[in-house]
């Protein structure tokens, strides 16, 4: 055992000294390799963190949302639908929800106006999300003037700002009273944006949704599961897009690395001949080459991953936030929860370290099995 370790250490010594012969080239290789790992790992960590955050946070969003669809488009739903749907087993509460979008030309941003049900807001007052407060420079007591659907400008007093912590879900929100909402958008009494149904038993969700579509054929129920799944898909997809964008760079690197790792120069061939002539076994030569691949790829993997971790969780993935999150004027400020998925890390390890190490060993096999007496010729 000791002997084996010593032997490996000695081979590693040789490999490192031999890598140090071309410091520029090999450091450059390490850098590019590390950069690739860094980009892949950043995308991976970031999207995974975001996905898990969405899953956790939205776990408490409404179980079922019922939209009315008119001519294929989302339309206001009459309060009467609450009675029309009748008693459905499993539904413990139902009520109308009022919310809508408002485009503010002053900052070219979309706000989401929402009437909270569990909270009273006085007429003429609003509660604003941190993103809006930041963009419009609003604080408690300030007034925000918006032009309503009838063309008249209305001023609202900012009663409160939503805490910054929850920006990820509330950055663009304006909370206001029902009366203000209806007046501002011109939504008549008795109409809601959509209906919210509370179903305590998740196993009854499907049944409830089926009954709803039967009894109210012009509506579409949206289940919480679907919402969560959509988010999984979105981030999966955005991750995919970035991977596609990166694919070109990765391919270029693969070609470069393959060439570098697998191409055996005449000089290297001669060196292998010398090593064999002075008593190295074929397996020693292969082990030495294995170390060469392992040194580069393992270092690149570790450096790349660590840089990505710092990048994503300590600088909020500053480099490609825009690509991953889409663009938004009211961009939420948030730092994703640090989260590392062991399986993903293993996958990254497998796909970055193994191919390169293999590429260094494969050609050597051929060279190492050639006769050592070539050095005499």
């Amino acid at each position: 055992m000791k002997r084996l370790l010593r032997r490996q250490a000695c081979l590693l010594d040789f490999t490192l000294s031999s890598l140090a012969r071309r410091p520029g080239k090999n450091l450059g290789l390490l850098l590019v390799y590390g950069l690739i790992v860094f980009l892949l790992a950043s995308v991976m960590l970031f999207t995974d963190a975001l996905r898990s955050e969405a899953r956790q946070v939205l776990a408490r969003s409404p179980e079922i949302i019922l939209q009315r669809v008119v001519a294929g488009r989302h339309a206001l739903i009459p309060a009467g639908y609450l009675e029309r749907m009748g008693r459905i087993r499993g539904v413990t509460a139902r009520h109308g929800r009022l919310w809508g979008y408002f485009y503010d030309p002053a900052v070219q941003a979309n706000y989401t106006l929402l009437v909270p049900r569990n909270r009273r807001i006085a007429d003429g007052e609003i509660v604003v999300g941190a993103g809006i407060a930041r963009t419009r420079g609003l604080d408690r007591g300030d007034f925000l003037t918006l032009r309503g659907s009838d063309g008249t400008a209305r001023s609202f007093r900012v009663a409160e700002r939503l805490e910054g912590e929850s920006e990820l879900v509330s950055s663009d929100l304006i909370l206001l009273s029902e009366a203000d909402f209806r007046a501002f958008f011109g939504v008549p009494e008795g109409l809601y944006t959509d209906l919210v149904l509370t179903v305590r038993n998740p196993r009854e969700l499907r049944k409830v949704a089926e009954k709803l579509t039967l009894r109210l054929p012009d509506t579409r129920p949206i289940l919480r599961d679907e919402i969560l799944r959509t988010y999984d898909a979105i981030f999966g997809w955005r991750q995919g897009i970035v991977f596609v964008l990166l694919a070109g760079a990765i391919l270029a690197f693969v070609i470069f690395a393959w060439d570098k790792a697998s191409g055996l120069s005449a000089e290297e061939r001669r060196e292998i001949g010398i090593l064999k002539a002075v008593g190295w076994e074929t397996s020693d030569v292969i082990r030495m080459k294995f170390w060469e691949g392992a040194v580069i790829s393992l270092s690149a993997f570790l450096l790349g991953y660590l840089a990505a971790y710092a990048h994503v969780f300590y600088t909020s993935a500053a480099l490609f936030e825009p690509v991953l999150k889409g663009w938004a004027v009211l961009y939420p400020e948030f730092r994703p929860l640090p989260r590392v998925d062991g399986l993903q890390l293993a996958t990254l390890f497998f796909f970055t370290v193994f191919p390169y190490t293999l590429a260094t060993i494969v050609p050597i096999w051929r060279a190492a099995t050639t006769d050592p007496d070539q050095v005499m010729r």
Partner: protein, 98 residues
């Protein structure tokens, strides 16, 4: 010091950092559980359904609440998430006629 010893030290250091990152993820992730809980309460209270990441249009602000026919939406049941809807099929469950 021998090159191999130096390398072992280097890799050891990086591996330690890697373990620390896992530890950090575990710890800070745990700490932030409060934050998640508060956000979850807010989501529940305001009956929110979506992240405020993409606010540029209604079919992206609330991708799950979009119309059946919104721009770039290729399938009525594809809950739109621009522009991915054009590349991604809706879940098989939804494509089954009901």
């Amino acid at each position: 010091m021998r090159p191999s010893a130096r390398f072992a030290l280097f890799i050891g250091l990086l591996t330690t950092l890697l373990s620390l990152s896992l530890l950090d993820a575990g710890l800070r992730g745990g700490d932030a559980g409060d934050r998640i809980a508060r956000m979850r309460r807010q989501v529940e209270a305001l009956e929110l359904t979506d992240l405020a990441l993409f606010t540029e249009a209604r079919y992206t602000r609330n991708p799950t609440q979009a119309d059946w026919f919104t721009p770039f939406q290729d399938h009525p049941m594809a809950l739109e998430h621009f522009p991915s809807g054009s590349l991604l099929q809706p879940p098989a469950l939804l494509r089954r006629p009901r």
